[in-house]
Symmetry: C2
Subunit: 348 residues, 2 copies
DNA sequence: TTTAGCACTCCCACTCTTTGAGTGCTAAGT
DNA sequence: ACTTAGCACTCAAAGAGTGGGAGTGCTAAA
């Protein structure tokens, strides 16, 4: 596996990404940085095919990269094109400045990515592992009707309405609020568990049975807190890619199956995953490129794109890297408590 | 325009809906309830074409209905097939009983519709015109950070975090809460307007300038309240319809442009709208069938499907009618205040 | 007014052919 | 030992011709 073969592999992938057509030996031989004849390239390509990096759609066609070929290309061969100052400037403009609300910042980044890459943008906020419950309130709002309010240190606010069997008097409400504050204040979101709430139900019931719906409500709210949010925007772009199955794309748009987990388990730094390498998300021949952004020194979420296997990695990866860095920078402001997530109210 | 011609039109539409192919004179003549020869039918069909109810894809093909043809069929000609007891029973099972939470009821109905019709189900809740603000709370939750809670008589709960320039002391908070309660309590959602909040900002600023973000926050929340919610589920089904443009379908799935307004402006009773008759929703050759459901004596929302023009109206319409009636029945329970909508918390 | 008969139209599916890009192999050149 | 030119071969895609069939409109008779 000499360096010329690698160079040829890189060239094939580049050309295939550029044109979308199987690339032949002749096309490669015409490239500036390749100085051997088509026949030589044919021999090398045959070797690369044997090694599993290239394949032929049919006998008399050019070669296209296999998954392994893409993988090698991305990990070793391509050299990403650095962003020009104009490009950076353009991104900065699309993104917004220090005074842009965080949520909008993320939205803008997603919009920028869809526009530039013509792929679907993916955005998540990480599960806020390290945030803790900072406030719990129970507010009477009607006969036998109470609203629970749960606020965390990272600024999530969740609410939920609960109907009780009886109305609570002042003392009872006081008791409950105190009890809950004492047991939940400062508890990290990650620690919250159903068992914990079961215990609380037991304890509270000893005082007054009909309080338990409130605890159940809290339990449900805490589940919401642990839920990750995932937004895919611009997914209509994926429909224009004829290498993707339209059916699969739409099913994905509706359900986003498994993607959240997949994003959660990525490491820091830029990541490229192929649909073939994971069964978490189900668009065949698609590729996920993401990077995490941080808020202060904590992971706050991921940003990236989903596109066909044949996306311009060389160009897109620097964009995503730049955006996540910039976002991390803009978010590492002075405030320690900022609101991002949203809440649901629900009856039962 | 004699009754035989109408009968033939109805037969053509029925056949076309059944087969999806242009239907010829011979096919019609073979039907049980038609007792004239193919030649006669040909003559009638020619007339129906001149009148604009039928058209030919090309010279030597059968006929397919035009928009006007469908319209006439739906409004006058078809006779919907009544639901059998088994079908009703099946729907009841899918829907749930009195004890099913309202939100789930609606979800189940949508799921049932997608399954039965193989089309996308559409669900909205109507703008709650007649509900009034029942409670406003301002809760301090951190340094200079306040959560506003807005609750309406129909049970919506919205919250939002606001950051102020200065912390409020007890007296100031008291003042603000009182002022707001006095001005908003009992005001109907429909009456809330930006001008109203502008006036309040002015009034409040006279007392203390830095309170205005709270009023702005309330203003934004009130906008949320007036927002209608719209859910389209099972839209992947639309991708299997080859009479619909896949591109348009996906763009619709992402944006649902205009559909909310369209649904809001429909009357009670079952409604069928063609995409050609409105520019509110942009899937060509599609058809929207909806009916409103009620809660008590107020319109509470709409339920229906979006499918290709060529859907089995005769079969589907009774389903939708039955479902909305049943939902209305199940929802007209004893409670006068029930929670349905959801809320967002946001920083700025 | 209805019907049978007939010539006509035009899509569709099928086959056959051509074209051209690309390959692998071989033999000669460096 | 590696590289290159030449050549025969393969195969998909695009085009050209063909026949069949479904359906029509028209006419003339019942």
């Amino acid at each position: 596996m000499n360096s010329r073969k690698l160079k040829i592999l890189a060239a094939v992938v580049d050309e295939y990404i550029r044109t979308g057509e199987p690339v032949g030996s002749k096309a490669i031989s015409k490239l500036d940085n390749i100085n051997v004849s088509a026949a030589t390239i044919r021999n090398d390509m045959a070797t690369l095919e044997q090694l599993g990096y290239l394949e032929q759609p049919h006998t008399s066609a050019g070669r296209i990269p296999t998954f392994a070929g893409y993988r090698l290309y991305i990990d070793e061969l391509m050299n990403p094109s650095a962003l020009s100052d104009e490009e950076k400037c353009r991104l900065d403009k699309m993104l917004g400045g220090k005074d842009t609300p965080e949520e909008l910042l993320i939205q803008n980044a997603a919009a920028a990515l869809t526009e530039i890459t013509q792929c679907a943008a993916v955005v998540t906020n990480s599960v806020p592992r390290f945030s803790v419950i900072s406030k719990v309130e129970v507010i009477p709002t009607g006969k036998r009707l109470y609203v629970i309010l749960l606020i965390t240190s990272n600024g999530s606010i969740k609410n939920k309405a609960c109907r009780l069997e009886f109305d609570l008097n002042h003392e009872q409400l006081e008791f409950f609020t105190h009890y809950i504050e004492e047991n939940l204040s400062g508890v990290s979101v990650e620690e919250l568990s159903e068992e914990m709430f079961d215990k609380m139900v037991a304890a509270v019931s000893a005082y007054m049975v009909s309080l338990s719906p409130l605890v159940m409500g809290l339990c449900e709210l805490s589940e919401d807190l642990r839920q990750q949010e995932l937004t895919v925007s611009g997914s209509e772009k994926l429909l224009s890619c004829d290498e993707l199955d339209k059916m699969e794309v739409v099913r994905f748009i509706e359900h986003k199956n498994g993607l959240a987990d997949l994003l959660e388990e990525t490491f820091s730094g830029i990541q490229v995953k192929f649909s073939s390498e994971t069964d978490s998300f189900a668009i065949g021949n698609s590729s996920l490129i993401v990077s995490k952004y941080r808020k202060g020194n904590k992971e706050a979420g991921s940003l990236g794109i989903i596109g066909p296997m044949r996306v311009d990695y060389k160009k897109i990866i620097p964009y995503i890297e730049y955006l996540t860095q910039k976002i991390s920078y803009l978010m590492s402001g002075d405030d320690e408590d900022i609101i991002v997530t949203d809440t649901t109210a629900d009856t039962d």
